[in-house]
């Protein structure tokens, strides 16, 4: 095996060139052409105008909110999971919903949050009255967090499981309070899991477009909806490609910041 040539390398490299290198190179190439096919830097100039910058900032803000809420909900859940008796069963239950088609879950939320849905029925019964829930920022962030939660819980859970419990006992024996132990021992030691989870949530949250369209209507514009709009509606591929290049750069930056942890692919 050692002296043999690596016969598997050629087909694999060919596949990677065809489906990873060339497509990304073509996106970069395309971003330098305007809608009529002339060479231009105009797409990037346009990207730096207030309209696009505002959209980018709001997209990053929403992605940030989604990541923070996911983490706030996921960390205690992951912590509680490690303390449970039937861990394997709970984990299975956690993963199971992610096998259900994403569109179905989002579609179910359309019914749950609708004017005559469950939530509004409950609100009316409580005497608060029917509210507009669908097509608001709240519903967008809620559904997004819902989708991403398992991808945040899993890496944090794994990090917590790897934590040596004697370190926690040692801290408690030395007189640290529960909060201090968490802040100085538990959290720093599970930081890798948190980073992996944030990476798995933040990048897809920047590029959501299906959830945005269905749940937020046209209220929220993310980088994902902008790319989809340019490629499939206005047919201005150059501009779409320029935004995509920005998204790729953002992705690389986040990966460098959080490390290339294999957080797993998130479907959306």
């Amino acid at each position: 095996m050692n002296a043999k040539r690596n016969v598997y390398l050629a087909p694999y490299l060919a596949w990677m060139a065809l489906f990873i290198v060339i497509p990304i190179a073509l996106i970069v190439y395309d971003s330098f052409f305007d809608i009529d096919g002339g060479f231009t830097f105009g797409n990037y100039e346009k990207f730096l105008t207030p309209i696009y910058l505002k959209m980018t900032v709001s997209s990053i803000w929403y992605a940030f909110l989604i990541t923070v809420f996911s983490l706030l909900i996921a960390y205690p859940a992951a912590y509680a999971l490690t303390k449970m008796k039937h861990k394997q069963l709970w984990l299975l239950l956690l993963i199971l919903p992610s096998w259900v088609n994403l569109l179905l879950k989002v579609y179910a939320f359309l019914g749950i949050f609708g004017t005559y849905g469950f939530v509004n029925g409950a609100l009316e019964a409580l005497g608060i009255g029917r509210q507009q829930i669908l097509f608001t920022d709240f519903s967008f962030v809620f559904v997004s967090v819902y989708i991403f939660i398992p991808f945040m819980i899993l890496p944090v859970y794994n990090a917590l499981e790897d934590l040596n419990p004697s370190l926690v006992f040692a801290a408690r024996d030395l007189g640290a309070s529960g909060w201090t132990t968490f802040r100085k021992v538990v959290f720093p030691l599970t930081l890798d899991g948190v980073k992996a989870g944030c990476q798995a949530v933040f990048i897809p949250a920047l590029s959501l477009f299906m959830i945005t369209r269905l749940v937020a209507g046209n209220r929220v514009i993310t980088l994902g909806t902008a790319i989809e709009q340019h490629f499939l509606v206005t047919q201005d591929w150059g501009m779409g490609a320029a935004i995509a290049v920005f998204l790729i750069i953002a992705m690389v930056v986040i990966m460098l910041l959080t490390g290339t942890g294999q957080a797993g692919r998130v479907r959306r």
Binding site: A77, L81, K105, A108, F109, I112, T115
Partner: protein
């Protein structure tokens, strides 16, 4: 210690209840096609 454990379980149950809400809703739809139909007509009216 016991109280903490109870809180943890309660929290997990809430999280998992929300996690399964849309799926429960789908199953609910399975058996109540007609009623849902009428309600959604109202939604889009």
């Amino acid at each position: 210690m016991k109280a903490a454990k109870r809180w943890q379980s309660a929290y997990l149950i809430v999280v998992f209840a929300v996690l399964y809400a849309p799926i429960a809703y789908m199953i609910f739809l399975l058996v109540q096609q007609r009623r849902h139909d009428a309600r959604l007509r109202g939604l889009h009216a």
